[in-house]
């Protein structure tokens, strides 16, 4: 499954957004990926990390310190901007609407989680189809596995953190086991991969 960087197929699809999911041990992995993205990164990044219900925005603040892109917890109906990182607030599911806005919801927990990675990924697959790049990192849950399948089925690019490098390998492994993961990479390589794919649009616009 693991592809060498040189062998990867070139990015031939117009990507519109990145979605990422993490749980236990997700924070260091997500910060490592985000710190690899420079302020001119073009795609929006939507993040679901399983949080303590009393988090009150702390996760977003910590992530903001590591990232060079602006990071915030969105409000319902907020328009999704390029080069901005959105993190799902504790106790709310975060979904994407087809009109490019964020929807928050208090629906029942999914995989014992609210926010749930599956909920974000499945809505992203519907809204952006092949334009999505989805990433699953460390966790002790199998949330996100169904979502990865939905994104793969819609033609998106799916990447899992290499389980051996994850603090909790269960979650990326569960995603890989669905057969829907395109690339298995350590976090540093995921950052580089995003830059390759996210940069594609600019290069082509200038041609």
């Amino acid at each position: 499954m693991r592809t060498k960087e040189a062998q990867r197929p070139p990015c031939s699809v117009r990507r519109e957004a990145v979605v990422m999911g993490g749980s236990a041990g997700g924070f260091p992995a997500l910060t490592a990926i985000l710190s690899g993205l420079s302020p001119d990164f073009l795609l929006p990044v939507l993040v679901v990390q399983h949080l303590h219900p009393g988090d009150e925005g702390l996760f977003a603040q910590h992530l903001a310190r590591a990232a060079r892109l602006p990071v915030s917890e969105p409000c319902d109906k907020e328009r999704i901007e390029r080069g901005h990182v959105y993190t799902a607030p504790a106790n709310y599911h975060m979904l994407v609407e087809r009109d490019g806005t964020i929807a928050l919801s208090l629906e029942a927990r999914v995989n014992w989680s609210r926010p749930s990675i599956d909920v974000l990924f499945e809505s992203a697959a519907l809204a952006w189809g092949e334009g999505v790049i989805a990433i699953i990192v460390s966790g002790a849950s199998d949330d996100g596995a169904r979502g990865m399948r939905a994104i793969k089925a819609a033609g998106g690019l799916t990447i899992a953190q290499e389980p051996a490098t994850a603090e909790y390998p269960f979650m990326p492994q569960a995603a890989i086991d669905t057969g829907a993961v395109d690339e298995v990479l350590p976090v540093e390589a995921i950052g580089r991969r995003l830059v390759e794919c996210g940069g594609w649009q600019v290069k082509n616009c200038r041609l």
Binding site: D76, E78, L104, E107, S123, A154
Partner: protein, 276 residues
């Protein structure tokens, strides 16, 4: 055409069928979440596609009732977001005191926890006796439970912390009577409350209000329905009346931002400006 796009059409048709058959307008509900719930229902419904649900919805009321249960989300809790109740005590109550009588509307009160929470605050602030509280929702099931005011004892115990963080002045357990697993809210907390059915999508204003609570309802609405509901609240509120939205519902993203000033940004409490 991709299957996703075809399903999108099917869902449009299903929502149209529901509206024309039963009068419930879910066409104006936030789409991603409605779609998710329809898909969920579909997988256990015995139907092979959303299209197959349409004749059933039209001809089988019981089928529709089961589906409608999937659409209605009434997750709530006592003193949800304690800082809101603290802000009400500190920034809203002093102004409510200046009116001889205060009318309060909880729109989308769900199973009532929010109503009892605010009633407790009003009691402790000495305003309860001159308040009339309207608690409305379009879900009769939720309203019935709100009217009963019976909750799991364990849940109420958990809410004690919220109550304290909300600036509670007594002991929370004084407000309910526990009998094993279930606990009933004290009868005095219902005396000033009128529970009634009201649909923000189709009903109109029913009185002049000093404070409107409409929390975590807009997240289910599309912009047009949110606009309608905000129109109702703005019509209903007296000048200087207060509006309180959910923690992630920002009036700045609506067309009504200029009609209100911010009283407390984090608590999402707004005050209606004078003028048209």
């Amino acid at each position: 055409m991709k299957t996703n796009e075809i399903e999108h059409i099917e869902i449009d048709l299903l929502l149209e069928a529901i509206y024309r058959r039963y009068g419930y307008d879910f066409r104006s509900y936030a789409r991603a979440s409605i779609e998710r719930r329809i898909r969920q229902f579909l997988s256990g419904s015995g139907c092979a596609s959303v299209s197959e649900m349409i004749p059933k919805v039209l001809h089988d009321e019981e089928f529709f009732t089961r589906l409608a249960r999937y659409f209605s989300i009434s997750v709530t809790e006592m003193f949800r977001d304690p800082l809101v109740y603290r802000a009400v005590r500190e920034k809203v109550v002093p102004l409510l005191r200046t009116w001889p009588h205060v009318k309060i509307w909880h729109a989308g009160c769900a199973t009532g926890e929010e109503v009892y929470s605010l009633a407790i605050v009003l009691k402790e602030e000495g305003l309860y006796e001159r308040a009339t509280i309207y608690a409305t929702d379009f879900s009769d099931v939720a309203l019935e439970r709100a009217r009963e005011g019976i909750y799991e004892t364990a849940k109420l115990r958990e809410a004690t912390r919220n109550y304290q963080q909300a600036g509670g002045k007594a002991s929370f357990s004084e407000y309910y009577h526990a009998r094993y697993e279930a606990a009933a809210m004290d009868g005095s907390l219902k005396e000033r409350v009128v529970f009634s059915s009201h649909n923000l999508a189709s009903d109109s204003v029913f009185g002049e209000m000093h404070l409107v609570f409409c929390r975590n309802v807009f997240i289910y609405f599309k912009r047009d329905l949110q606009h309608r509901a905000l129109g109702l609240f703005t019509e209903s509120l007296v000048h200087g009346g207060f509006l309180c939205l959910g923690a992630k519902e920002d009036l700045r993203f609506t067309d009504f931002r200029d009609r209100y000033e911010i009283v407390d940004d984090k608590a999402r409490i707004y005050k209606k400006k004078d003028g048209p």
